[in-house]
Symmetry: none
Subunit: 190 residues, 4 copies
């Protein structure tokens, strides 16, 4: 993280924890401050507003995810293998940072400024997935479709996997990932 000293990190950690567990609106600034072990004023010294904290978290979060994906895929040659790896990485990340994803999912539907910004950030992330899909299609490994919407579908299946594990407290990453990949690659038809 850049431009982040110790105190700001404390606030960041406290905030992501609260936002994830209780959502944006239910999380109070007092709570974050107390949880971070700093005074409320300190929080406002480092962030302009509650919204600003949220945005900072989203930015950092997506950055971390994108980095992880790059790290894990750049040494791979086979496009399909890359996609498969992306699936695995996603399931891992989602399982590891469930609360972070829930925060995003609860905030991406409205029309408040914060929510529009969130969708902008996500758009960049979708573009990344789209890039990988296009590469695979270019080399004839997958169907040549409207890759933009396919990228969204990819995201959708991932979401559904979260919901499933949420509702069933399923923690077996390997199984989840395999089902994910199967579905993505082959659909349900015979």
């Amino acid at each position: 993280m850049k431009n982040v000293n110790k105190t700001k990190k404390l606030i960041f950690d406290a905030a992501i924890k609260s936002f994830s567990q209780k959502g944006f609106h239910k999380t109070t600034v007092d709570e974050i401050a107390e949880s971070a072990g700093v005074a409320k004023g300190t929080l406002y010294y480092h962030f302009k507003s509650k919204e600003e904290i949220f945005k900072f978290i989203i930015d950092e979060g997506t950055r971390i995810i994108e980095e992880e994906i790059l790290d894990r895929t750049e040494h791979l040659e086979d496009p399909v293998e890359k996609l498969r790896t992306i699936c695995y990485v996603h399931i891992e990340l989602v399982t590891k940072h469930v609360e972070f994803f829930k925060t995003i999912l609860s905030q991406m539907w409205g029309n408040e400024e914060r929510q529009n910004q969130l969708r902008d950030v996500l758009a960049g992330y979708f573009k990344l997935i789209e890039k990988y899909l296009t590469e695979a299609a270019d080399e004839k490994y997958i169907k040549d479709k409207n890759m933009e919407i396919i990228a969204f579908n990819f995201f959708g299946v991932m979401i559904s996997t979260i919901i499933y594990s949420l509702m069933h407290r399923e923690k077996n990453v390997k199984d989840l990932a395999d089902t994910f990949v199967d579905f993505i690659m082959g659909g349900i038809g015979k």
Copy 2:
């Protein structure tokens, strides 16, 4: 709708409109009352609380959706045709009631009482999709997988379609539905 007189219906309509456009927390009781053209006290005469109104909407909404699905599929014989129709119906419904779905999507992730109840309602709805999937699998029309998780994936792809149309203001229901079905049935692999 049962046990719903004229005034209660007014409140219901106003509430769904507000929740859809602004989310649960950002919608105020004053707003609903004003939009419904009744006094705030009246609203509390018909509903115990703001949460109660929300729950009422969710219950009614899912009931309507389920009814629509049944109406449109019960005369069909071919299981795959049924699934295909469900896809179409969903895209239609989502496009028609996009605000209602956004409301659900923003509220299904947290751990507040209201949100847990919402997930319970959704569980019933997932079961319905699962039933159709199982029927199709039983008759060897589709792959025989863990139908529970497939039902969730089905939901996920639908969500992603909402996001896509949200971000691109795409309104062509036919195209969206076709992409949806293709993806569901065949995945992306060659």
Copy 3:
């Protein structure tokens, strides 16, 4: 006062007292509420904001002053007599509502919205004085000058009288008024 029920009047009275004694910024909403004997929420039920209360007071105050002036002058024929009476009325009012005038005087110099509005209200009041001055000039009772600026000077002399009585705790209205009138009418030159 119009559209003012009992509670709103209570708030009005409490607010004018506080604003006058402590100025706009030093007066807290809690204070007004407590002094009015109502809950803070009640205050916001009747007024949109602290600024709104202030504006309401200014509007009512100037209205009362203008009414008093009209009441006391409309039966008079002689223009100079009218002016003289206006002087008396002003000194009386200022003496009676010293705190109200101090509030105005402390708030009329800045560029905040509230302060611009205040000056707009005062402009109307200045116009009233100007009207009387012009009448007197038309009938050759006083010098024919730029009556607009003379109206302001009139106001200025009044202010200075407040300052004087403020600093010397002078309460003799009659004497103050006579000095006021003398100065206005004849200046200091021989």
Copy 4:
């Protein structure tokens, strides 16, 4: 200025600018520090408090004004000419330092310690005007009245000129000054 090194002067200049434009309460210490180009801590090294800065400005400001008046009048013999010059000097100063005067005018009405001190300073300034008036009266050049209150009226007319120029954005110093002198010397009566 005495005991004023470079840094303190920077703060002084920044503070007077801010106080003038936004008033005492609306001006923040951060703002002054930033505008002065120093850290907030530095500001507190040179001044004990925000109030202290304000007081320092008032003291310096009135000192400068008094000096200017003395400079411009001490070589004059004729008392009336002196008064006339004082009028001109005032209008010039007010026009030149309009923000400084607005600051004073907004702060001279309350009962906070700072405001009481301000009135004390002003009292000295009024005494100066009174001195000139008394001299002129002694030599039979102007009416022999209660010179104390006349000094205040003098101030009042000056204030009204500020208001006028504020409201009309009138910048013609010469005209304003002439009207000022005329009014002071001859009043409005015929």
